[in-house]
């Protein structure tokens, strides 16, 4: 069964990317795969069962390709874990689904094919998840990374991890390794999660090397390798001897760092093989525990009111983080490793790197006052850089 699903995937993906092209071209190809069947499906809503209870089919959509050495590949790996833990479930997967109406289309098509549990795995899929949840009250819809409130339908849940925790730990490795005291951070867009990561990385580095500076530069894209190459060259030219990033595709920057003989801190996936010399640390996704756990809850009929029903955040403290530290590089010293382990223990005890007092970029105005510790929901709304970060949030 896994085989047949796997075979179906590329077809769907290819159709979608061709459709995407055609649609933008203004050729007005209207895809009407779902309209008729979904009308028929709407009549079934009076079964009385909880959303997704006894599900036999589960659907996943992802925004990018399944082997991007990054975010979407991790989704793919998580789905493979579900296939192993739930061999009786039929799994539908669709990749390269843009964050627009095509996501609604893709999810609804999956419902029409019998899916009663849906995972929308990109931040920008939240609107689509919401719409599909409203249209299909019998279906449990889960969104990866979103923050929802009471106005959302009860069959919609969101889940994620406290992403900045392993990034803080990687920052310790960077701060201990740098000789120039300058770290380079290449990011896509300054959304709160990215901002929190840049700050956590800097705070981690400062915890072992107080004078460290992080230069944060944007590419205005989640994946534009040529621009990444340009940014990496500029950062290295400015004296950065550790490069890290928050991009969907990570290969270019890691290879550029390795070629220039500077250190790399990975993001999204373990790419240590790309930088055998310079790899220090990194953070990577691991959905192989969380996806099956969520599906168990839903299939048992316990989704409504469960911890997965709204804003679940796995982290070091509850031991269920989907974002975990990657293997440390060979050049990380035992002393540094001990510091990282100690910080990990603190995180597990509930401590957060965003504990005040923390100063803003001017070094004088506190952005997190003394006595305040941010929750992960607070961090999901972060819109400022901390002291030690060079960069401009407006751009």
């Amino acid at each position: 069964m896994t085989l047949s699903s796997a075979r179906r995937t590329p077809t769907r993906r290819h159709v979608t990317s061709l459709l995407a092209g055609a649609a933008i071209a203004g050729l007005a190809l209207s895809a009407c795969t779902s309209a008729t069947e979904s009308d028929a499906g709407a009549g079934e809503s009076s079964s009385g069962a909880a959303p997704g209870e006894g599900a036999t089919t589960v659907g996943f959509i992802a925004v990018g390709p399944q082997d991007d050495f990054g975010y979407n590949q991790a989704v793919h790996d998580g789905i493979r874990a579900v296939a192993e833990t739930h061999p009786d479930l039929e799994i539908l997967e669709a990749y390269n689904i843009p964050e627009n109406d095509q996501a609604v289309e893709a999810l609804q098509t999956m419902v029409d094919q019998g899916a009663t549990v849906l995972f929308a795995t990109s931040f920008g899929h939240l609107d689509a998840a919401q719409q599909v949840a409203e249209a299909n009250p019998d279906v449990a819809v889960l969104h990866q990374g979103g923050l929802i409130d009471d106005t959302s339908p009860e069959n919609l849940g969101t889940y994620y991890g406290t992403v900045y925790e392993p990034v803080y730990l990687a920052g310790i490795a960077a701060g201990a390794a740098t000789e120039t005291g300058v770290l380079g951070f290449v990011y896509g867009y300054p959304v709160p999660q990215v901002v929190a990561n840049i700050n956590a990385f800097t705070l981690g580095a400062q915890s072992v090397n107080p004078d460290v500076e992080t230069i944060a530069v944007s590419t205005t894209s989640w994946c534009d390798p040529a621009t990444q190459a340009d940014r990496a060259a500029s950062l290295i030219s400015q004296g950065a001897d550790v490069l890290t990033q928050h991009q969907d595709c990570t290969k270019t920057i890691i290879e550029a760092a390795e070629a220039a003989g500077v250190y790399s801190v990975g993001f999204h996936a373990d790419a240590s093989e790309l930088a055998p010399q310079g790899w220090l640390a990194g953070s990577e996704w691991d959905w192989t525990e969380l996806y099956p756990s969520i599906i168990d809850t839903v299939v048992d009929g316990d989704f409504i009111g469960s911890e997965y029903d709204a804003n679940y955040r796995g982290g070091a403290a509850n031991g269920n983080s989907p974002f975990v530290p990657s293997t440390l590089g060979a050049s990380v010293t035992p002393e540094t490793k001990a510091l990282i382990d100690a910080a990990q223990t603190e995180l597990e005890s509930g401590w957060t790197p965003f504990t005040g007092p923390i100063m803003g970029q001017d070094g004088a105005t506190p952005v997190i006052p003394e006595g305040t510790a941010l929750t992960s929901d607070d961090a999901d709304q972060m819109d400022y850089f901390v002291a030690g970060v060079t960069g401009n949030l407006a751009g």
């Binding site: 995407a20 055609a22 071209a25 390709p65 190459a229 340009d230 500029s234 595709c249």
Partner: protein, 302 residues
């Protein structure tokens, strides 16, 4: 900092240089190709795939050129033989290339290749300022230095160049003299596509050393814009390519230096510069355009 911007301009401008030269050749023969972005995409993937399978980036360059030429050949069939609308054909081929490269590129996303690496030229590379800006780059950057005068020489000093320009200026006269306008335009469009393919390959196998779908990210459209900016002259294309490259690189250097800039505004610089040229020179830009191309351009105006 200035050296970083200029050096980044030469390195980042090289893909624009090849694509812009190709588009110049095509437009000189009277055919505008908005599919240049697509030719760069297939060139980037073709170059990456061939480099991966053969281990040779030089063969990769050939692969990129062949892929770009093939896509341009489709454009030539549609617009030269079938008389299709040049804009519609070019844009459609871009979207086709976007979809096809996403489809066939999946297998190459996480592959590692032996890419071009910078080779510092002895003596010249040690000259202050000039050395790091011009003589410490990958081989395709140097190839750009050679290709521009070569194309200019062929275009203005050889019989082939005369035929090319005639196809763009006086297609009727070319026919009367017993030459095939169709053949000349085919040659121009296809070689233009090959150059755009090399431009794309420069990004994937010498600059970013990766393949990802849609990785050209609009640089093909900058190249089309560049040709107008350069008034259809190869030497101006060289200057414009490095200028546009420097504009793109400016965003990196300013940010890395902590200068407060708006990233999105910087991205628009090449297009703004082209708009300035169009505004300042107005109708005079059209006087520089090949006459046969004017027919296409003026149809669009109506």
């Amino acid at each position: 900092m200035i050296i970083d911007i200029l050096s980044g301009g030469v390195r980042g401008g090289t893909s624009l240089l090849f694509a812009g030269l190709g588009e110049t050749i095509s437009e000189r023969a009277g055919v505008i190709n908005l599919g240049t972005e697509g030719a760069m995409l297939v060139g980037a993937l073709g170059g990456y795939a061939v480099t991966f399978h053969t281990g040779s980036p030089w063969l990769g360059v050939l692969g990129g050129a062949a892929a770009g030429a093939l896509l341009a050949l489709v454009h030539a069939v549609l617009v030269v033989s079938r008389g299709a609308n040049q804009y519609a054909s070019g844009l459609t081929l871009f979207f086709l290339a976007l979809g096809l490269t996403a489809l066939f590129g999946v297998d190459y996303v996480s592959r590692q290749i032996t890419a071009f690496t910078p080779v510092k030229i002895p003596v010249l590379g040690d000259i202050p300022v000039v050395g790091p800006v011009l003589f410490d780059h990958d081989p395709l950057v140097y190839a750009g230095y050679v290709v521009v005068p070569l194309v200019a020489w062929v275009m203005f000093r050889t019989r082939a160049g005369l035929l090319l320009r005639s196809a763009g200026e006086r297609a009727d006269a070319l026919g009367v003299n017993g030459y095939s306008v169709v053949a000349v335009r085919y040659a121009a469009v296809v070689s233009g596509g090959a150059l755009a393919g090399i431009g794309g390959a420069h990004i994937s196998i010498a600059y970013a050393n990766s393949w990802f779908e849609n990785m050209i990210a609009g640089r093909g459209f900058i190249a089309v814009s560049l040709v107008i900016f350069a008034m259809w002259h190869p030497v101006n294309v060289l200057l414009g390519a490095y200028l546009f490259g420097a504009a793109l690189s400016l965003a990196s250097v300013l940010q890395a230096n902590g200068v407060d800039v708006n990233q999105f505004a910087l991205n628009a610089i090449p297009f703004l510069m082209t708009l300035v040229v169009l505004t300042v020179l107005g109708k005079r830009t059209l006087r520089k355009a090949p006459d046969e191309l004017l027919k296409v351009l003026e149809t669009a105006k109506a």
